[in-house]
């Protein structure tokens, strides 16, 4: 059941991308995420990893990255564009250094513990999208 569901999602993403979109308008899970959980995921250095590269409105986090634009920049994007940039940033910008958080193909030498797994789950991505759109 879960497997079928995942395949469905992947199929959906493949369609929206081949349509030439730079956005994924609908939630991956069919439902909006939770912004509070999303904020915690973004700040988590082992799970979201976002603050390795990005900065954002996290006064309690002393160490933030400066390899990437401040996350408040997400305000310039639509919700669907934000989702696409987390699912697979290379689709919007082929040279992007940002990891694709919801992709398992086309990767090289993935460590056995992570093989076949996406960096985040669909639910986690929706939580993060829900948080980022509150930064507008």
């Amino acid at each position: 059941m879960l497997r079928f569901f995942t395949l469905n999602i992947l199929f959906f993403i493949a369609c929206s991308v081949s349509a030439g979109d730079d956005a994924i308008p609908a939630p991956l899970t069919g439902a909006r995420g939770d912004p509070g959980r999303g904020r915690a995921l973004v700040a988590n250095r082992q799970v979201g990893l976002c603050l390795l590269c990005h900065s954002g409105p996290f006064p309690e986090e002393r160490f933030q990255g400066n390899l990437a634009p401040d996350l408040r920049n997400a305000a310039l994007l639509t919700e669907g564009q934000v989702r696409q940039r987390i699912v697979d940033p290379g689709k919007a910008n082929p040279g992007s250094m940002m990891p694709a958080y919801f992709r398992t193909e086309g990767l090289t030498r993935v460590a056995p513990a992570f093989k076949g797994k996406t960096v985040l789950t669909a639910e986690q991505i929706e939580d993060i999208v829900a948080y980022l759109v509150t930064l507008k």
Binding site: R45, L49, L51, L52, C53, R62, F63, Q64, G65, N66, L67, M97, P99, A100, L107, T108, R109, V110, A111, P112, A113, F114, K117, V119
Partner: protein, 224 residues
């Protein structure tokens, strides 16, 4: 590197790696293996015979038609000349000997030359450095060429010039090889590291040392 760490490194009285240097010096003149020979029996005083040697490693080993690093060179002498078993990678003995040999080149410029023979190995190392890999799909070059000097969650990204290996890390509370450091970056991007001594790893080391050519060797360096 902070001023305090640099001062600790440059003074043999405070450099914590000095314990390994003393071990290395003792091993240099200790007879070993079936041949009952010490390194010193063939090479004499390391302070003169090994001057500049570490600055030329990794290098081409014609008998095997491949590039070998200094640890592997030491083990070849163990096996072929001393007729003794090889030391394990990251063992205290191997790190001690490599640090002691490296110490004799301290302050000398890294002297790796690319020629027709070594070019394929250099190219393989460069390709590995530029290849995106792991679940996070990051290439070494994306951090160490494109973003060095910037902050990765508060950690300054260095240029990845391996001028001080084997190195003493306060974080490790001990000495470690360049390959141990490379494993950390592989694990960081969630890629499968190569086995110690694998040709892919040695070619990557060779490329990194070539990239740092002309810079002064500071073995054994100290880092937080």
């Amino acid at each position: 590197m902070g001023r305090e760490t640099r001062a600790m490194q440059d003074d043999d009285a405070t450099n914590p790696a000095v314990l390994w240097l003393l071990d290395g010096e003792a091993l240099w003149s200790r007879k070993a293996g079936e041949a009952a020979k010490a390194c010193a029996d063939c090479h004499g005083d390391a302070r003169s015979s090994m001057k500049g040697a570490a600055a030329r490693y990794p290098g081409f080993y014609s008998a095997k038609e491949k590039i070998i690093n200094l640890d592997q060179r030491v083990n070849l002498c163990r096996i072929e000349r001393q007729q003794a078993p090889a030391f394990a990678y990251e063992s205290r003995e191997l790190l001690a000997l490599s640090a002691y040999i490296g110490r004799q080149s301290r302050g000398m410029p890294i002297d790796i030359k690319a020629d027709e023979t070594t070019k394929p190995f250099l190219d393989a190392g460069r390709a590995a450095f530029n290849r995106r890999q792991g679940q996070l799909n990051l290439a070494c070059s994306q951090c160490h060429d494109d973003n060095w000097g910037k902050s990765l969650a508060g950690n300054p990204i260095p240029q990845a010039h391996p001028t001080g290996y084997p190195i003493y890390r306060l974080e490790w509370q001990g000495l470690g090889s360049l390959q141990r450091r490379l494993r950390n970056c592989f694990i960081g991007v969630r890629a499968e590291p190569y086995a110690y001594g694998a040709p892919e790893f040695v070619n990557l080391e060779f490329y990194l040392m070539w990239r740092a050519r002309g810079m002064k060797l500071e073995t054994p360096a100290v880092r937080p």
